[in-house]
């Protein structure tokens, strides 16, 4: 299966990655080769095999419902390029 350039641009847009034409072509090739590998794997007979959601042979550990962390806002905001009134500021997301 081969990906079209349009597909690559759409995937990039969904992840908010900006690609120039060269990048797009390169990704088109490498993603296609991944899909080729997947296609090869499709030929394996998986009848009767349970889908595996995690390769670790373990189950989820649970946490008690207790508040264990306090307010570290100042430390967190210190990493952000722009803040105001305790908020992270980002470029406007609605018109």
């Amino acid at each position: 299966m081969s990906l079209e350039k349009q597909d690559v641009l759409k995937i990039a847009h969904l992840a908010r990655l900006s690609l120039d034409d060269n990048d797009a072509e390169q990704y088109q090739n490498s993603l296609t080769s991944i899909l080729d590998l997947v296609e090869q794997m499709q030929s394996v007979d998986t009848n009767g095999v349970e889908p595996l959601s995690n390769p670790l042979e373990a189950k989820q550990r649970l946490r008690d419902d207790v508040v264990t962390e306090g307010n570290r806002r100042n430390a967190f905001l210190a990493n952000a390029p722009q803040t105001e009134a305790g908020l992270f500021l980002v470029p406007q997301v609605i018109e």
Binding site: S53, K59, V66, V67, A85, G86, L87, L89, Q92, V93
Partner: protein, 481 residues
């Protein structure tokens, strides 16, 4: 043309845990921005989620309450989309193996009939943060306090056929989650939010029409109005020969209209896949059974018990069990008063009048159940009559203290001393010789009608404090001379 309305609902109920779904941050509402956050909630690289035990228990409780299959193995999945208030770039949710599978719920319609609504599934997921768009020099402010707060998304089958049914269903879900104590159910605070899927099809047609989804409707009244508005909009389009676009819409209560939110189809390309940071959740039958055995009383069971234990009518039991706050209030009032029927009448009558006039929920009543019960005790033991009790309730509503304080302070105690009542009656008889003459000259039937006049005079002379039950025999005796 006659259209059949098809509605399915997705309800997001915020689970009332102390800490978040995947981190040890607090979930308290109204905290200063970004003070309830951790590295996990901020989506910092390498920060790993650890699942909250209590959220799991609450989800299983809900599953039992709607007679659902419990997912003995359930899996978290990543729902990928880009938005600044979702710093990880995905929402941890569930897709193929939710914690709660197929179930159902019975709702009571206006005409008293029951209708069964199917529950498709209910799954656990984390909430996103909040974007604040106002006045940050053209930028958007991000508050991540809500990030990773646990939600239970409850998805119904498209079994609902009208706005009224939709509201009855949402009220029932609200009632169940608040009875279970797993959600505060405060819709104004966004504790419970509702997405409504609506489509129309010609009467008799099997296939569903194209649907639209109205996002985040946050009150029972708005759900009803949003549905009416959207039905009308879709019917207009279809009757003009047009086509419905499948899209997400927002309801604007001020203009009473729905508006398109986003129509790009790629917006729905969420690329779900199992979350590699979280392992499958495996439940044991023993764990599931133990939760079932400890389930609190649910609305329907409560109503049945009110009918058998307190001899309430089906209607009264239904009203008084509608919310847990209402049921608890009634029961405490009844226990203090020692008379359930009297308590039912006052809670549904006088108290509800006050609550409605100020649009207050019973949980916000300035008169506590204990205080109302205390007032009813004074009716029961003849300290005051019903009429005086209403004025005492007014004073209690205005914050003047308990019934006993008010009765004492205003001197409202009913007169039950035979001598004192006789004296008042004698004064009324003395003051109205002509009427007494007429009374004595009349036959018994006529006398029965005339006694009301004297009764009124006695109550007036005693400022409403004479006990009517005691006045009647004495009045009869003295009048007949």
């Amino acid at each position: 043309m006659n259209w059949e309305v098809v509605i399915g609902l997705e309800i997001h109920a915020q689970l009332s845990t102390n800490s978040k779904l995947f981190s040890g941050a607090a979930t308290s509402f109204g905290a200063e921005p970004n003070t309830n956050t951790t590295l996990v909630d901020l989506g910092m690289p390498g920060a790993l989620p650890v699942f909250n035990k209590e959220a799991l228990r609450m989800a299983v409780m809900f599953g039992h309450a709607v007679n659902a299959e419990i997912g003995m193995t359930s899996i978290f999945a990543r729902k990928n989309y880009f938005y600044p208030d979702l710093p990880k770039g995905y929402q941890t949710s569930q897709m193929d193996d939710p914690i709660v599978g197929k179930g159902h719920l019975d709702i009571t319609l206006d005409d008293g009939t029951m209708k069964r609504v199917g529950i498709t599934r209910a799954h656990l997921e984390e909430d996103a943060g909040k974007s604040l768009h106002e006045d940050f020099h053209g930028m958007t402010g991000i508050d991540l306090n809500r990030s990773s707060t646990p939600l239970l998304e409850i998805v119904s089958e498209p079994d609902i056929r009208s706005a009224k049914e939709a509201v009855a269903y949402v009220k029932m879900i609200h009632s169940i989650v608040t009875y279970l104590g797993i959600c505060d159910g405060n819709m104004a605070e966004g504790n419970m939010r509702c997405d409504v899927n609506i489509s129309l099809r010609p009467n008799g047609q099997e296939a569903y029409g194209t649907r639209t989804e109205i996002k985040n409707v946050n009150s029972f009244r708005f759900i009803e109005r949003a549905i009416y508005t959207e039905i009308e909009r879709q019917a207009d389009i279809l009757e003009d020969g047009g086509k419905i676009t499948q899209e997400t819409r927002l309801y604007d209560p001020d203009k009473d209209e729905t508006r398109s939110m986003r129509s790009k189809e790629e917006a729905n390309d969420y690329r779900y896949f199992p979350c590699p940071d979280l392992l499958p959740i495996e439940l044991t039958q023993e764990y599931v059974d133990q939760i079932a055995a400890n389930l609190p009383e649910l609305p329907k069971q409560k109503a049945d018990r009110f009918m058998s234990e307190y001899k309430l009518s089906e209607y009264d039991a239904g009203v008084l069990s509608a919310t847990r706050a209402m049921a608890d209030y009634f029961e405490e009032t009844a226990n203090v008063a020692g008379n359930a029927k009297l308590a039912a009448n006052w809670v549904m009558g006088e108290l509800s009048k006050y609550l409605n006039s100020e649009s207050k929920d019973i949980s916000e009543s300035p008169v506590s159940a204990g205080h109302l019960g205390g007032l009813l005790v004074r009716i029961e033991d003849n300290t005051i009559n019903g009429k005086t009790a209403k004025s005492v309730l007014q004073a209690m509503w205005d914050g003047e203290g308990s019934a006993d304080d008010i009765i004492e302070a205003k001197g409202l105690k009913q007169v039950t001393d035979t001598g004192a009542i006789e004296a008042v009656i004698q004064s009324v008889i003395d003051a109205n010789p002509a009427q007494v003459e007429q009374f004595r000259a009349s036959d018994e039937d006529k006398q029965k009608k005339m006694i009301g006049f004297f009764m009124g005079q006695v109550m007036k002379a005693s400022q409403g404090k004479a006990n009517p039950g005691m006045v009647t025999p004495i009045l009869n005796k003295l009048l007949k001379g």
